[in-house]
Symmetry: C2
Subunit: 428 residues, 2 copies
């Protein structure tokens, strides 16, 4: 094989190439082969030389492995450069079909992981990106910055609209109208089932949002899950706009990139809250699939304003996964770092959040983050309003640097944060 | 823990429950725990009991693990029943967000695989399904049944529209106008790049399709890759319709379920050819992700008319993966088996197809299959027309029961199939 597809002397210009970091695991003896085959399969190659292939095509459009870090006889990390000319402007599916498409099925590989991607600004700036971003969201709420607390109504499915809406109101309100949380979201499989119709639920919820505003002047947010077919999503978005809602939620993995971008393009004037249900099928196995930070980047291009990237305490809150911290922080960097003309995306931390760990999450992820707690709020011995107040108290403590359990309880006692004291002494 | 979420005595009515087959791999000691947690997390559970949870919700809406096959201390296969009430009609993203969503991130698991799903007809029949199916496709071509041969123009990217279109024409035509193949498709990352604009390419190609029809009376098919944002896809579909095209191709994984269903709902009158680029990120690791047959079922519900499911010889044709045969056959069963009121979906076999293995593919997958060869046609020593004729000759041999290499060469000589002789004696 020659140097068409593998050349460590190739100087990959980052302004003219999309650069993808792969990790490969291969059957013994295949390493050198896949250095050629991955760029060939994902650019201009075929498994047999054909008449229409020209030197010109090879020179201009070949992707190239230009850096190899061999980890063992069967594992390596590769950097592959894809000339910009291979990509269509403003087309996320095409980009993924190119560098993260058929390569996953190559027989010469056992497993393939896409760990990172660099995209030149020339291509970045063809995508819409977020319409609002963190700043737009802070403007809606009427604050300058800082962590935004939120909740998911629990149980995640089953409550009728009235109960669901009243629970939402309690969490917004807290015990006194001003000490509650700001952001409430539907759960990811909650759309429009018989037990809780979309319009009944959202209509009731948004009446309560108006009530909060007239009672306390606070603008609260409800992220209404519009997930469905395109026509369904548009109908639901129209309803949310009509009812004065302030946020649309989409299950971005299961609906897909084209759907997300379509909702972005409609310019409803509302931020898009991206739930990532099913991402773990792609991201969790560290030898295969795609790193969460790559998905985070793609959803930023597509135009979401906030997306779940984890809490640093493991995705579901049943325990800790240490490596998650790197995953969360690197994903958030993709959301908040400089990226062409794109606005930023606010990270959303969710899953197992409680009064005992919210300080650590704020410490790691603030200032710009939405943190949502479900059971950690609604499981308070005195109910959702007290749970929301307690969570807010824990946030205040964290912003004053009080994070560890013992200090937090002492802080709560000293500051007469009775809801937090009760949460800390009653919750397991 | 009680029997709310795990009960082996539970009688899961297949008419009233979606039933999902999971394989779990867990850290030692967690097996029993995940029998409860998987159905809890993917139905009405939360990690902490909350006030709004009622016995009524638990009774009506709890998902339940009702069958366990323990494989070791850390591995098991589970069957979990999800009451129909949890699902919204005609909403694939919601269905996946429910049973294949957050569960992939649970900390109590190491890996999770969705291996199969049963959906009751009551839910199946809320989806559109294919508008055409194999019968509709055969009607367009004007044949009754049988394997349909096709090709992908190679190189996969880089040829200008004229070269691309002429290669397509050669493959349709064969050496004599009637011995070519029927179906030509864009490659999955080929959309609308500078080197080959969509309208230039498709316009030229469809002129040649008209020419074939006027020369020989044959109706040939070009699957035009409309992959992109929703507005882009609709614009491209309109163009294909205007130009008299007969098929739309979509990269169904990278665009996503909502996009696929949206194109189906537009009723363009053309079958949808589904390319599955990136599926391997979800399907390939047998310990994690989702089985191809589950995706095949979902895309049938969404309304594709044909979808790639593999060749039985490994996904890329660089060798063999034995287990692929089960994967391909079980996926094809989801496409072609009875399913409520749904039409069937024709399987498409692609990747490394050549004259030496097409007989084995026909033997395994016929009668209803589209088989596309790229390098296997365009790599013929005498070019694409001869390659197409040779492939068709190999098909004829296979339909007469001649499949093995030696017998095939003898058959080619006996039948004066000179293009096939040349392909067999010159190709590696």
């Amino acid at each position: 094989m020659d140097k068409e597809f593998y050349n460590e002397d190739f100087n990959a210009d980052p302004d003219a190439n999309v650069i993808v970091d792969f990790k490969v695991i291969v059957p013994k003896g295949n390493l050198n082969r896949v250095y050629h085959e991955i760029p060939a399969e994902s650019s201009v190659g075929t498994w047999q030389r054909v008449a229409a292939m020209t030197d010109d095509i090879l020179r201009k459009l070949s992707a190239k492995t230009f850096q190899v870090e061999k980890l063992s006889d069967t594992e390596a990390k590769l950097k592959v450069a894809y000339p910009l000319e291979l990509f269509e402007a403003n087309n996320i599916p095409q980009m993924l079909s190119l560098f993260a498409g058929n390569v996953y099925g190559m027989n010469s590989l056992e497993y393939l992981r896409v760990n990172d991607v660099h995209i030149p600004n020339e291509l970045i700036n063809t995508f819409p990106g977020p319409a609002h971003g963190p700043k737009g969201i802070y403007d809606i709420i009427g604050i300058d910055q800082g962590p935004i607390l939120g909740t998911i109504v629990k149980p995640k499915l089953g409550s009728p609209p009235d109960v669901h809406a009243k629970t939402t109101y309690d969490a917004w309100r807290g015990v006194d109208g001003t000490s509650g949380i700001t952001w409430v979201k539907d759960d990811e499989p909650q759309t429009d089932q018989d037990f809780c119709r979309f319009e009944d639920r959202i209509g009731r919820v948004l009446e309560y949002a108006d009530q909060i505003k007239s009672e306390t002047g606070r603008q609260v947010i409800y992220a209404a899950n519009i997930t469905g077919s395109i026509s369904t999503m548009m109908k639901r978005a129209d309803y949310v706009v009509d009812q004065g809602g302030k946020c649309l939620m989409i299950d971005v993995v299961t609906t897909g990139f084209s759907a997300v971008q379509h909702i972005r393009e409609q310019d409803y004037g509302l931020p898009i809250h991206a739930h990532r249900a099913m991402h773990g099928a792609l991201t969790r196995h560290h030898d295969h699939g795609i790193h969460m930070k790559v998905l985070a980047l793609m959803y930023r291009l597509a135009g979401v304003d906030g997306i779940h990237t984890g809490t640093i305490f493991g995705k579901m809150g049943y325990g800790k996964i240490e490596e998650d911290k790197e995953e969360v922080l690197s994903s958030n960097k993709k959301l908040m770092g400089d990226l062409g003309n794109m606005k930023q995306v606010i990270p959303i931390a969710s899953g197992g959040v409680g009064v005992r760990n919210i300080g650590k999450i704020i410490d790691a992820l603030a200032p710009h983050v939405v943190i949502t707690a479900g059971g950690g709020i609604h499981g308070h011995p005195d109910g959702s309003a007290a749970g929301a107040t307690a969570m807010n108290q824990a946030k205040d403590a964290a912003l004053q640097g009080v994070i560890e359990d013992d200090a937090l309880l002492q802080w709560a006692k000293d500051n007469e944060a009775v809801e937090l004291v009760k949460a800390l002494t009653n919750q397991s």
